[in-house]
């Protein structure tokens, strides 16, 4: 009986989660961290990792005690575990698919990235070690990471720190940052990505 119940729970969790479940749960994550005495902000981990790797002796910006950031590193480590468990044991019948709209499938095909409706993988093929055999792969993975790391610290937060924590606390600076996120994203989506495919 109990096993059957667990199997049903697993099947339930394996369905794609709708936005109205994911959004409020993200707010819950923010609240739990506030309750534990911390502010939700994943990109801060890059700074903590730099400090832990010795950057604290090279630059004042990294003169922080990385052990104060241990809680945040543990959240990131938990996210790694979460990603492993969700992708290996909670994939449901549809498998590793991103359920994007037909309009998006059409747009992707238009810019030279061939995808089949209903068969889009969760992570596209070019975001892989094989993708790094092309300059476009380097631009997207390493270039993307570099810009994310630089931009997140420059702006003082990423999607979790500004879009979720900052806007929840009605912080005007966070609204400016989120507008910046979108201006950057729109620029790449409309003017850069069409130049990269096919590869």
């Amino acid at each position: 009986m109990f096993m059957e119940f667990l199997i049903q729970v697993r099947e339930f969790l394996s369905e794609p989660w709708p936005w109205y479940v994911a959004g409020p749960l993200l707010a819950l994550v923010m609240f739990v961290l506030l309750y534990f005495g911390h502010e939700f902000g994943i990109s801060e981990n890059f700074r903590i990792m730099c400090a832990a790797d010795g950057a604290d002796q090279m630059n004042d910006f990294f003169k922080i005690n990385w052990k104060d950031g241990q809680w945040n590193l543990l959240v990131a480590l938990g996210a790694v575990f979460g990603g492993y468990v969700a992708s290996h044991y909670f994939m449901g019948t549809e498998g590793d698919t991103a359920h994007i709209s037909d309009a998006t499938v059409a747009s992707l095909n238009e810019i030279g990235l061939s995808v089949e409706a209903g068969k889009e993988p969760f992570v596209p093929e070019f975001i892989s070690w094989g993708g790094l055999l092309h300059w476009q792969g380097w631009l997207m993975i390493a270039g993307g990471g570099l810009l994310v790391g630089f931009g997140a610290r420059y702006a003082g937060g990423c999607t979790s720190g500004h879009a979720i924590s900052g806007l929840s606390a009605l912080q005007l600076p966070s609204l400016i940052a989120v507008i910046g996120f979108f201006l950057g994203g729109l620029f790449v989506t409309y003017f850069v990505l069409p130049l990269l495919f096919p590869f």
Binding site: I42, L74, H88, G145, G149, A155, I176, G184
Partner: protein
């Protein structure tokens, strides 16, 4: 300590199962072709605003018994606009912001190690250039 790992696991589940960690979903969002991502971020903010207002009105205390205070961010423009723009460029190129990066690493997409090292390099670069950048 393990409580933070549990919070991280929950975060991983949310962003993986809602597909917010998928490159395709980010592309779709920036093309305004689905409500999905806007719904996730929008409902997170809405729920977050309610939570923060309750915390402020009721003076909710944290686990250590101190009142929860949320620091105001410094009121400038340039760092948020330029930094945010730069972040947006990277987010849409890689299709993953920092949390999804950790989640996808766990899901077995080991190439995100390259992203992680690059992001740390970018963070370090900011630390070096910080005195010369407008804030």
């Amino acid at each position: 300590m393990s409580r933070y790992i549990l919070v991280g696991i929950l975060l991983g589940f949310i962003l993986y199962k809602s597909e917010a960690a998928s490159w395709f979903r980010i592309y779709e969002m920036f093309r305004f072709q689905s409500f999905h991502m806007f719904g996730i971020i929008g409902s997170a903010i809405l729920a977050g605003i309610i939570i923060v207002q309750i915390i402020k009105a009721r003076h909710v205390k944290n686990v250590e018994g101190q009142e929860i205070l949320i620091k105001d961010k410094s009121k400038t423009i340039w760092r948020y606009l330029i930094g945010g723009f730069t972040f947006g460029l990277g987010w849409s190129l890689a299709g993953a912001c920092p949390a999804p990066m950790f989640i996808l690493l766990g899901a077995g997409h080991t190439v995100f190690v390259v992203y992680l090292v690059a992001a740390m390099t970018g963070t370090y670069l900011y630390g070096v250039l910080r005195p010369r950048l407008p804030h």
